[in-house]
């Protein structure tokens, strides 16, 4: 299980972080593959992880074009739609990750971990949905709304980091029977 969480940690880092030198060196397909591998291990303990497997597998396929395009710089057309599809897919993957983790830490005496997970989950989704909606409306709203969008983008990166920290913390709290 520790290995599964380690793979998910590095996988998520590859998905959200870009190192663009000609191509994205921290390629998202590699990240999705790591999450897929981690989910396959986790499925042995919690069957609901199968959904993470499926989501991550599709993620591998759909994120390939993004390796060769500097997505943060796209402003128009099909690549803008694609960038949004990738963002939504990342959110769906995280949604299923939390669903699986809740199964892992469902036992008695683990309520503190569950509470922390719930808090991070809520914050993550609120920030990401706010960002998604702001991006939608920014297409037609100008002026100071752009400042709000910048603030939102920073919050999204902040929540990505918080999620990574949470994953690292979960690795230290894996139930004995699943280690």
């Amino acid at each position: 299980m520790n290995k599964a969480l380690r793979l998910m940690f590095w996988g998520y880092l590859f998905i959200f972080f870009r190192l663009q030198i000609g191509i994205d060196l921290l390629a998202a397909p590699i990240g999705y593959y790591m999450i897929y591998s981690g989910a396959r291990i986790m499925t042995q303990y919690v069957p609901v992880s199968k959904k993470v497997e499926v989501t991550a597998f599709i993620g591998i396929l759909i994120s390939v074009p993004g390796v060769f395009i500097n997505l943060p710089e796209v402003t128009d057309g099909v690549w803008l739609i694609y960038a949004h599809v990738l963002l939504i897919w990342k959110m769906i993957t995280v949604y299923y990750l939390f669903t699986a983790w809740k199964e892992v830490w469902r036992g008695a005496g683990q309520s503190l971990i569950r509470q922390r997970m719930q808090l991070v989950y809520m914050l993550y989704m609120i920030v990401h949905f706010t960002f998604l909606l702001s991006m939608a409306f920014s297409l037609n709203i100008g002026g100071t709304f752009e400042l709000w969008l910048i603030f939102n983008s920073v919050a999204v990166v902040g929540m990505d980091i918080v999620l990574l920290i949470t994953m690292a913390a979960l690795r230290r709290a894996v139930p004995e029977e699943m280690k």
Binding site: I88, L133, A136, N140, G143
Partner: protein
Amino acid sequence: MKIRPFWVILTVAIISWIVNYAYAESKKLAEPVFVDHYYDLRPDEAIFQTFYYVANKEDTEMPWSVEFGDRQGAVETYMDEVQNIETFGRYALRSFTVQFLDYPEVEKIERFKEMTVHFTERSVTVPIGEVVMKPPQESRGAFTETMHSGGRYDRSILVPEEDLTITSVHTSFDTQLKDQLFIKLHSKKAALKLKSSVDVTEPDEAFWKKASGIDARTVEFPFTIPAGEQFVVSMMDEVKPRAALEFDLLVEGLDASDEPFIWTAVYQSQPQFTKQEIKQLIEKRTEAKADE
């Protein structure tokens, strides 16, 4: 959060995105819309002229050069990417500065209502208001003291060293900007006579009503300004839709020896838009295009 709220909110977000995207696409400009410019350009000066336009805010094309007939200007490029002055909804107001290099000599006044702009990926010929290319002009110092100030309205205080006969006070755009440009003339000792049966509308601005003088359109030319007497020329504009203005205010006349003189001051006004005015500008251009 249970499964249902996540999927419900995600669906709402996706629908919002699709609706916004579809709306933005439906309002997309096929080509940049240029603000009306009313400019006097003279080849005897180092000309750097700024032009303003409205583009889709996601457009990244850069202007490189412009053409007025066979006259060309190079766009000064300070930056690698376009900079917005301000964004209005899905549009952005932008500007660029043009330098006219190797300017061919202008022998007579030439007027241009369209400009060809070469962008990185395409060229467009667009209406731009009106730009007047003027031949070189020698201004003679007919006034000993002059003071020119801007603000809510433009004001020039001129003091002649000898008796001067003023034959006209005008700009290049008095006809095009009829009832949108306002000039007032004032002199205590000069007897400014009013034309009979001239009815003009004046701007409904308190500061303009308080400005001393009478509307130049109602003044009977010529008239004489005695030496040493202050002659005040005030000017303001109410150009609609908003435009970029940079042209000469010309005071023409004859000195005591009947030699002609021309005194000029530059009147400037840069456009500051509201969202509604941007919309009106786009509608005006779109309707004009549909009528072609």
